[in-house]
Symmetry: C2
DNA sequence: ACGCAAAATGACAGCGCTGTCATTTATGGC
DNA sequence: GCCATAAATGACAGCGCTGTCATTTTGCGT
């Protein structure tokens, strides 16, 4: 049964309820029903066949310009919208991509997601969100099931899933198009940030403030980002003529708590660092917590900086010096590359732009002429 | 053209590529193709008609138990999954609901979203995410377009959209099922929290710590939550025998910045509050910021508490006393009520359970406020 | 004008399911 | 055992599009 309200009267969007077999159904000829126009209606109004309308709607070639315009006119006047299921069924494409993620920070994911939605909506694709446990034993199976069950046209993978080698291999085997956000292996469609250079610039900045003992808290070992940021940290030390000191580098997990633990360890050293560069904002917030706990004032006694520019970085005291990662743009770019891959068979790996955000949590090393940073909002 | 890899060999999931017209296509009879089973295949294996298989898959009545089992067996052995588009097209239902949101906090939304996804997935519904500007002039139109374009079966509305009266009215007119998360008007399907009682309990707690001047920062005026929390604040004062003082109640916007602004105003009073209850965690974080700025130590000089128990509340110093809102559960409940409404024509308004989280930002009222800087103590 | 290739358009048969309704099979009362 | 009734099952025609391929129209060289 078609669900639609019965309305008396006529306008462009009304027509007699007539079945394909020609019989009117349960209504006298004068009662009409508001009903979505079908491609056939558009064709009739434009004086062409349904197939030609289909051509116009799908940007297929070989339609004369005046015909196209006439059809678009009819589409507008009937407020016609193609039925997604009918389209999918007939064309054997779902116009559906999935965004796979495993438990990253909500604000990061929300931003990426917004970008993906924006890009997909613009190209009339739907997005299916799929929180997943990438460490689960049935992970691969789950993804394959998802693809076949929902007839996905493609996938967008976010860290740490974008580094899941078995999955990438399987997707290539299956021929399923995919795009990665910040993957370790850049040999696929997607988007990356030059995190190594960003981390390097941050360390150089700290060194320029006079810091000589700069600590680093490494991110989660399964994220490619952790390694890039660590490499960048080393680059920065080298560029600033500072010695790498393994005692000042502690493993973290990208979580607030792991930042607290790592900072406690570092601050307990005989010669603790005067600045700590955490591989993300959550851990940096943990460092500030640990500093407070240890009776240290940030940035007076300890400079702290993070990575990502999450909302958190502006919502703690002092506000966090960090590196802005344009997550929304990155989501958009990844989606666009995926759609390109679906359409043209190949997408590119695009590089997004980072930016240093100098805020209140970093300052000149004590003992040197002080230069206040703005602590404002 | 059907997209499917050509594979040699046979197993339960393979069959000759045969068109409905009976002609084999482009392949010799020995080459076979891995291809999703169709309902017809299941029917053949189970020795019934496709329609009976359909009955089993859709939990329709009037199927003998042994027939059902035989069919389920065939479904498993063929790894059959119904084609979503074919189902939608034939049944005129999309099995798709949309989650509408407008810019709430990412962590809140992510949690709600997870709950919604979980519940919908369990009932084999898809979720479409729709960030929207509820204040835009074309808002209603956009939503209507969304419904008709995607053939949505229903909507889940989150604050502040759940309080958008014109939208609710229109949805009822259209007969579109919907469920609300924390709506002001509880006369619909959805989920709420007894925020008023929660706020009251929080204020009573503060009073029990000896606070007599307890300030409140009101949330965004368009959110029902703001009013409930304010009412609860007044209830709590009354229950504790404290006088309501309009100077201690300041309008905020639910944002961090608005919390800073409101707290500055309150702390500048001749007789400032000794405790501030902000209507959400973001504003409470702003209060802590402003307190630091004013040289006050939290909780020594000022107790601060929030509402929502966002991740932020555990990632600032001191950690925030707040009220836990089970967002994930709420998302799940809202989705389940929507699906009930879609199925049975009516859903319920369910009440979720809050919990007070007593953490480091609140303490006994001091004998006398000291004016030292909080950091480094 | 004519002929021919290329461009434009149309006819038609499904895509894989479910709604409707007809038909067959079980159940129960006597 | 027989019929009335209910339960179980099946036949069949679409749902609204697009792929394929046939047909018509156009453009253009001669």
């Amino acid at each position: 049964m078609r669900w639609l309200p019965v309305i008396a009267g006529t306008d462009a969007r009304m027509r007699p309820v007539e079945r394909a077999d020609g019989a009117f159904r349960n209504f006298t000829a004068t009662i009409q029903v508001a009903m979505r126009a079908r491609i056939e209606d558009v064709a009739r109004v434009a004086g062409v066949s349904p197939k030609t309308v289909s051509r116009v709607l799908n940007d297929e070639p070989n339609v004369r310009e005046d015909t196209r315009l006439r059809i678009l006119q009819a589409v507008r006047s009937l407020d016609y919208r193609p039925h997604p299921s009918a389209r999918s069924l007939a064309s054997n494409r779902s116009f559906l991509v999935a965004l796979l993620y495993d438990n990253p920070s909500p604000s990061y994911m929300m931003e990426v997601q917004d970008g993906v939605l924006e890009a997909c909506e613009a190209q009339r694709y739907s997005v299916m969100l799929q929180p997943l446990d990438a460490t689960g034993p049935r992970f691969l199976e789950q993804v394959e099931q998802l693809i076949s069950e929902r007839r996905l046209d493609g996938l967008i993978l976010t860290p740490p899933i974008s580094d899941h080698a078995p999955l990438l291999r399987r997707l290539r085997e299956l021929g399923t198009p995919f795009a990665c956000v910040a993957p370790r292996d850049r040999n696929c469609a997607g988007v990356v940030l030059d995190e190594r250079r960003a981390a390097c610039e941050m360390v150089v900045h700290l060194a320029s403030l006079g810091h000589q003992r700069i600590g680093h808290i490494i991110g989660h070992p399964d994220h490619g980002a952790s390694i890039w940021r660590l490499d960048g940290y080393r680059d920065g030390l080298a560029q600033s003529g500072l010695q790498y000191d393994a005692r000042l580098v502690v493993q973290g997990q990208f979580s607030f708590d792991s930042g607290v633990v790592a900072a406690r360890a570092m601050l307990a050293l005989p010669l603790p660092p005067t600045a700590i560069f955490a591989a993300n904002d959550d851990m940096a917030a943990g460092v500030i917590w640990a500093a407070n706990e240890a009776g240290l004032a940030v940035p007076r006694d300890l400079s702290v900086c993070g990575f990502d520019d999450t909302p958190l970085s502006r919502q703690i005291w002092p506000s966090l010096t960090t590196i802005h990662q344009p997550c929304r743009d990155m989501g958009r770019i990844a989606a666009n590359q995926l759609l390109r891959a679906i359409r043209d068979g190949e997408g590119a790996m695009v590089s997004a732009k980072f930016a240093l955000c100098l805020r209140g949590s970093t300052a000149r090393v004590p003992g040197r002429p002080a230069k206040e940073h703005a602590l404002g909002l």
